[in-house]
Amino acid sequence: MRRLWEWLEPYWRTLRRPSVHYSLGFLVAAGFVAGILFWGGFNTALEATNTEKFCTSCHEMHDNVFQELKQTIHYSNRSGVRATCPDCHVPHQWTDKIARKMQASKEVWGKIFGTVNTREKFIDKRLELAMHEWARLKANDSLECRNCHDYQSMDLTRQSSRAAQIHKRWLHTREKTCIDCHKGIAHQLPDMAGVPQG
């Protein structure tokens, strides 16, 4: 410990000493420019990890959940509007997004140590993984669904009478949120025995 401090001390002293060569104005301006560069770079890097291309670049995602997504209406439909992985799995707001990204560091760990690197491992773990997502969406009132599907903008008269009735009864009263009924909307469901539905 003492050795470490002896090694660090000169650097620490340099850092603590006031600048003698650079003017305050230069330091402020340089700090400002460096800040812009850092922030822009940070956000660019963050957004790069927030694309479908990035998500599906590992075969755990590409061979399992992405193949299932391809068959659903969230991937292909008559109007051509579609959701990509982060639209549903990463919150859009900054603080929530950063919190989720910090959580996702577990996924990096999983990738490195091959937690779900085969189809069998994935299927075994699927219920647990799905439960995490359901719990997350339930806790944030299906925020990611509502980014696109706003109840206020739903024209109930254009839904089938059954759908309109159920949405009015459960969604309007806020008794239930999207994920309560629409589990497995974009992926196949795991073994649902014992999981309360609806």
């Binding site: 068959q71 659903t72 209406i73 089938s160 009478s161 059954r162 009735q165 159920i166 009924c181 497995g184 196949q188 469901l189 795991p190 073994d191 649902m192 539905q197 609806g198």
Partner: protein, 206 residues
């Protein structure tokens, strides 16, 4: 120049010969191609006149009169590719339909696109299970679906009744591929009572 010509006379001769052969082959090929093209034109014209004569035929979708059972090709010759029919729309009105005969499995009156029915999950049972039927105001699954084949009651739905789509199907607005004379028993009885022959004899086609 003349020197070069005399020295390589054989080479010049051979070159000229090759050129002549090439021209000959080209002309022959061109003539052959023109005759086949004319044949094709004639055949197309013949097909067009035939199509014009055939009743209700000649649309891009092929024959639409459906007089023959040819659901796959719709009367289009095997050497021609047909434009596919537009997909039929699933009726989604949520109104229960009449059964055509007493033990008919009820048809599904709503769309079931993307419903997962497999070992893991049965989307139909989300609403149609006994426990959930009240909540979703859906008709609960019949008691027969909770019996094994020896008529013993089970707590959960019977495995042999698990795959709803085996018997219950959605209805689309697709045109009938083949006409039929089906009458429900009520229609038959009504006709018998009125003393008339069956509707089939009076030319009714459903």
């Amino acid at each position: 120049m003349s020197n070069a010509f005399t020295r390589n006379r054989l080479l010049w001769f051979a070159g000229g010969l090759v050129l002549a052969v090439i021209v000959l082959v080209f002309v022959a090929g061109w003539l052959a191609g023109r005759t086949t093209a004319r044949h094709d034109e004639e055949r197309a014209a013949r097909a067009a006149t035939q199509a014009a004569h055939a009743p209700a035929a000649g649309s891009a979708l092929g024959r639409t009169d459906m007089q023959q059972i040819d659901a796959l090709r719709r009367g289009i010759p095997v050497d021609q590719e047909a434009a596919p029919m537009p997909l039929a729309r699933v009726e989604n009105a949520d109104r229960r339909r009449e059964r055509a005969y007493p033990m008919q499995p009820p048809t599904i009156p709503h769309a079931i696109d993307g419903y997962q029915v497999d070992k893991n999950s049965n989307r139909c049972m989300l609403c149609h299970a006994r426990a959930n039927a009240e909540k979703f105001q859906a008709p609960p699954v019949s008691v027969t679906h909770y019996m094994d084949r020896d008529d013993q009651f089970l707590a959960a739905i019977s495995p042999r009744r698990y795959f709803c789509n085996q018997c219950h199907v959605v209805q689309t607005d697709a045109r009938l591929l083949v006409g039929n004379h089906f009458q429900t028993i009520d229609e038959v009885m009504a006709a018998a009572e009125a003393g008339t022959a069956t509707a089939e004899a009076s030319g009714k086609v459903q």
